[in-house]
Symmetry: C2
Subunit: 417 residues, 2 copies
Amino acid sequence: MKNLVGAAMFAQSGGPTSVINASAAGVFIEALKQDKITAVYGAAHGIKGVLEEDFYDISKEDEKELLLLKNTPSSALGSVRYKLKDAKKDDTDYKRIVEVFKKYNIRYFFYNGGNDSMDTCNKISKYIKKSGWDCNVIGVPKTIDNDLFGTDHCPGFASAAKYIATTVMEVCLDAKVYDTPMICVIEAMGRNAGWLTASSVLAGYKGLGPDLVYLPEVAFDINKFVADVKGVLAKNNNKCIVVVSEGIKDKDGKLVCETVGAVARDSFGHAQLGGVAATLANILKEETGYKTRAVELSLMQRCAAHLASKTDVEETFRAGREAVKAAVRGTTDKMVVYKRVEDKNGNYKCKYSLVNLKLAANTEKTVPLEWITNDGTYISDEFVTYALPLIQGEAKAPVEDGLPRFARLKKVQAGKK
Amino acid sequence: MKNLVGAAMFAQSGGPTSVINASAAGVFIEALKQDKITAVYGAAHGIKGVLEEDFYDISKEDEKELLLLKNTPSSALGSVRYKLKDAKKDDTDYKRIVEVFKKYNIRYFFYNGGNDSMDTCNKISKYIKKSGWDCNVIGVPKTIDNDLFGTDHCPGFASAAKYIATTVMEVCLDAKVYDTPMICVIEAMGRNAGWLTASSVLAGYKGLGPDLVYLPEVAFDINKFVADVKGVLAKNNNKCIVVVSEGIKDKDGKLVCETVGAVARDSFGHAQLGGVAATLANILKEETGYKTRAVELSLMQRCAAHLASKTDVEETFRAGREAVKAAVRGTTDKMVVYKRVEDKNGNYKCKYSLVNLKLAANTEKTVPLEWITNDGTYISDEFVTYALPLIQGEAKAPVEDGLPRFARLKKVQAGKK
């Protein structure tokens, strides 16, 4: 537990969310207040900004704009998908990071991201400790996928869930306006964890939800799927609304979206998913002859800040502040997590805690199998109980000319880039 | 100009909008107040509900729920795409309509829809007049496409425009977070009129808009398109955001989305469009080797009531009321239209007027060619001046459990179905 005085560096990594900049706002506003923190930097494009000495002096920003970050979607500093090598094999990048940290007297490092970013953060944390340079490293969680270990839920998930539930309600109304047969297949993100797809049952809780829901947690069988849809059509006036995860896989673990064509891969080797709804809609059209429609929620589910959950925004902001407070107290090598507790009236309340970075880095939290019901086609009320408190409250950027007024940062260069 | 006493029938037709039920609310609430109107009916699924005597007694609904219709997307009574035959060739349906109108003493008929629906409304109006049955017929305009003749703008357009502009702003932020090359092709609706696609430049007005915009009003050339995109990439750090209309056509008038495969057609013979963004994104990927993404705004652009324009909602509600008032005054064979005027401070104000149904039925209003700039790749500020007043104000359904509380109608059957 080192009590350090020096500069703080914050960086954003991985896929953005609607509320990712609320963490940035929390880190920046708290760090600017702390006496032990002598300078606050924001790295451009994650760890690459550190490696390239490309970062901004946050003290030069207006506080009003920093507060607007709470309602501004998508990594304001820029993000990155850059995989650090195993330090035992090639420690070039790590040496460079320590060099930069020494050069700018970085004593606090905050890395904001999901599983892969926490892996990066964990590796840096371990290397820096070994190097002898005193620097407290704290991971700030972020992912719409909600799959980080050790936390009740993840910053960004609830806003995506609120977007998905609201949109599914609206699409359900739209898709059913004609008295002719209609099949609609809606695709949500989620590589291995079905939390986002499951969120569509919140729309069902309000009476306007999907008939069938398919998560990556359950092996997908195309023949069973077609039979499931035909079963719904038969009893439901020839209408069926399905929500599927982009990450559904067959019993051999092969992605359904990959079995129909080539798929690009990112630098982590992850397939660039998408298009499974269109594929399934085509199959259903051939099988039934009915009008089918594929709706991909695409980037909107992770950037629709205009429909963010206020609970999510405020918790995410707080998570950033808690990261700074923990580091200043002398904590290192941890990630901030949420614990679900009850207030004195028995209502939902969020408390903030810490877990070891190593645990957060390499463990994926999926939807409990016992919450998946109806032979793998729906989600139990336990999910509704879990998710409903998280989507409460409306948060959006101030409106200017009828459109959102997002934060405008000056981005005053502070590195030697 | 007949002064009639009897029942009123209202029906919804064609593709829904976010605010379509605001017209229904306007018609219902105004009609229930009028002494000359002895009963208020809402037809299920447009003209089919009339033909099949399938309609509801609106006096049985709670006023609170009728008011909630203002913020409930997608034809609450159900819609239809049913093309009436030419009465000279086959007047079976028309005879049946007159028969039903006589049976229920329908003296006021309000038909809510776009071009095709106004064609239906016009045909019914003319036939009824010839039949000798006294009934005032008024068209209530509706279309996100904004292509109805004789009106400054159409109910539903502004909310779709607000959704598109907001979403493009958010997607622009999201698509640019990485420091790697990125092409994003966003697809908006609009068969022959590019008003919705043009709306994306409102995002540009706020500094977060597309680089290139392609409307169906201008012949689309794939080679020029690829060159346009490469030009933007070269000067723009290898990033390019494009918005295209689903209805873009080549110089021979052939739909770009049709040149790559079979397309389904609806009962009006219109192609069921979509998928052009995915096609163009694939071509750009092959041409550049860069990561490309296709985003289809799909049904969301016409049903995202959570992001509706308050100006649009209130005008649409008023249009419904004006339709009833005009009919009760003795007007028939007209459609309600908007006239743009200035208030005493020079600010935007909407006035309500009427045009002949025949004109509204068969004339499509497209984006003025002189507003299309940069060799067919952008839209002038005249469009911003035109559209900006229309998207002002926030309107959304009350929130319950963090999700919209849409209207729940009892739908008490009043026909003999």
